[in-house]
């Protein structure tokens, strides 16, 4: 994140981009079977395998024009909703350290053993556990689903498994309601503050924190859409992608440094930055403009939600908690464990362009493909945070630079990241280091 700020420390230009090297999943997919590509797609990210698996599987089905049985669709819906509920709970842990215990000057440490935070943390953990368990029952595995396949699902669930999911969803509903109410109260308390503390700096909190005038894009209130739909909610002709160097700032030198900024201070003065050249993603546009995707976009497009800014965005995410569990219960009511879950006929594909979107926790995840003779000829992934990079960059304008990350966290970004494993000897000397992603 590179910020150009004025003398008062207010952001004039925000540049938030991914510098993860382009790794060419689209190229890797060409020539593979439609069964392999969703498995490949689900490996590009550690947090969103389910959204990518579902979007890629359904893009394949859209290209070969295969409609799946209703019960298979219900299982996919349940899996996707469970994944979203887990993600909302994870996001609560992400943003709580920015927020205050109402009525105090104490920021919230979600890991503390002290009350009242401990009870909240336990509730978050239970919601995560329930969501993952439901996902595991519906999809065979809650991280990389084994039950999904082109043409439906490998197997339906038993009557007992359906009852178990139902019981879990009913247990989660009041917990989700309580968690939503609490988070909204904490967010409203934050919004009402005049100042907030960032690394010992007293920062004025603008009432327009995170506001932008870009549009919203969502393809379904809960699940997603595809080119097989009678009235598709996404139009590929309204989409185009521009080069990052047309959008971001060119080479600059860091001229403001703040060692107090958590954790470990900002980038050192004199460091050369060049977001224009370092950005590794294109800028997707819908109707010629970057758009916001995610929970607020879903609520704005489908439910008339109109609160702008970072707090409005976080509240929209919390409001999805209970909606998801109600929807999950509706899907379970619809699910017939005796119903078939694989299409009778799965065509080989004639090379038609097909796309499918999945409303992932972070927003619209669109996969586009062409399948001919059971081989993938073309594949492309438009992942949610790619949509949000440019929109969030616009939302940073007008905010104190110290709050830039608070705005960014509102988008619950998922930027591919790498983990290093380091092996040390008894003297703590590094003897081996390897990128293990």
């Amino acid at each position: 994140m590179v910020l150009k700020v004025n003398d008062q420390g207010i952001i004039e230009t925000g540049n938030w981009c991914s510098i993860t090297p382009v790794r060419g999943v689209e190229k890797l997919a060409v020539g593979k079977t439609p069964e392999q590509v969703p498995k490949i797609a689900s490996r590009v990210c550690g947090i969103c395998p389910i959204a990518h698996n579902l979007a890629a599987t359904e893009a394949m089905e859209a290209s070969i024009k295969c409609e799946i049985p209703k019960d298979a669709l219900m299982l996919r819906h349940i899996l996707q909703l469970a994944n979203r509920c887990h993600s909302i709970a994870l996001h609560d842990i992400l943003i709580l350290p920015d927020l205050y215990l109402p009525g105090t000057e104490t920021k919230i440490n979600p890991f503390t053993a002290e009350e009242p935070v401990r009870t909240v943390a336990k509730r978050i953990q239970r919601l995560r556990e329930i969501s993952q368990t439901i996902g595991q029952i519906a999809a065979g595995d809650c991280i990389h689903p084994r039950n999904t396949r082109v043409g439906g699902m490998y197997r339906n669930v038993s009557e007992q498994a359906k009852t178990k999911m139902y019981d879990l969803a009913k247990e989660a509903l009041p917990l989700a309601k309580a968690q939503m109410d609490l988070m909204i109260a904490i967010l409203r308390n934050y919004q009402a503050r005049e100042h907030v503390d960032v690394g010992g700096m007293k920062v004025a909190l603008p009432k327009t924190l995170g506001y932008h005038n870009q549009g919203y894009l969502a393809t379904h209130a809960f699940y997603g859409a595809s080119s097989l739909d009678e009235c598709p909610s996404w139009d590929i002709r309204r989409f185009k992608e521009v080069r990052p160097w047309d959008w971001y700032m060119g080479e600059m030198e860091v001229s403001l440094e703040e060692p107090r900024y958590p954790i470990g201070g900002t980038t050192k003065m004199g460091t050369k930055v060049n977001p224009q050249m370092e950005a590794c993603t294109g800028i997707p546009m819908y109707d010629g403009q970057p758009v916001e995707v995610g929970p607020r976009a879903r609520l704005a497009v489908y439910k008339g939600y109109d609160e702008k800014g970072t707090v409005g965005q976080n509240i929209a995410r919390e409001m999805e908690y209970t909606d998801c569990f109600y929807e999950m219960i509706d899907c379970l009511d619809e699910l017939n464990p005796a119903g078939k879950v694989v299409a009778d006929y799965i065509p080989d594909g004639d090379g038609s362009l097909g796309w499918a979107s999945n409303e992932a926790p972070r927003g619209t995840d669109v996969h586009i493909t062409r399948v001919k003779d059971w081989k993938v000829q073309y594949f492309s992934m438009l992942v949610p945070t790619t949509w949000n990079f440019a929109t969030c960059s616009a939302a940073l304008q007008g905010a104190p630079w110290q709050l830039a990350e608070v705005i960014m966290r509102g988008y619950d970004p998922c930027v591919s990241c790498a983990t290093h494993m380091i092996v040390v000897d008894e003297d703590n000397k590094v003897i081996a280091q390897k990128l293990i992603q």
């Binding site: 991280i143 954790i263 081996a432």
Partner: protein
């Protein structure tokens, strides 16, 4: 409960050649008959988000992580590492959980063993499917080490692994999948 008394997690990314070793081991273990108190999971890159931060020490007593580790040995060599062998990570936000930080937090309540296998080639950031021959051959041996570590060694597993070791092909792709139509 989501996770049982003994949890075996295969970590890594099959898109980076030998980095897919952990998931490949789990895929192979799905053919074994394991006790009810053992759960196996293909953690992919999501171990910190989906497993290590969700384990309940009241239920889970043992966590086995299978991953590649560069310890300077011949490719396919196996080593056991403790959490103490890994450097403490730093929590910055919920998306920056690295492999070690949640492990440092749970290691006093859950016995954590990392089974590291020396890779031959990790292609990150370039994508490449498929394990090297050395790591393909190391799968049955790694499973035996895992079974010994958790104290499970039944005749069925032994027979299966012996057969696997004999038949193991060096050309299989880890992201491959059976023809399902």
């Amino acid at each position: 409960m989501l996770y049982s008394e003994i949890v075996i997690a295969g970590c890594g990314n099959p898109l980076f050649a030998d980095d897919g070793f952990g998931p490949a081991v789990i895929e192979e273990m799905q053919n074994l008959q394991l006790p009810d108190n053992v759960s196996i999971t293909d953690a992919g890159l999501g171990g910190p988000h989906f497993i290590f931060t969700l384990l309940d020490p009241e239920v889970t007593k043992k966590l086995i992580i299978v991953d590649i580790a560069d310890f300077g040995a011949e490719p396919g060599s196996i080593t056991k590492l403790r959490v103490e062998d890994l450097p403490p990570g730093a929590y910055r936000d919920a998306h920056s959980w690295d492999l070690t930080e949640p492990l440092q937090r749970i290691k006093d309540q859950i016995e954590v063993t990392i089974i590291g296998v020396q890779p031959a080639r990790v292609t990150a950031p370039e994508f490449e499917l498929g394990l090297s021959d050395e790591l393909q051959r190391a799968i049955p041996k790694t499973i035996r080490v895992i079974l010994e570590t958790i104290g499970v060694e039944n005749e069925f597993s032994r027979e299966y692994l012996r057969k696997e070791e004999r038949q193991r092909s060096s050309t299989a792709e880890t992201c491959g999948c059976p023809e399902t139509r």
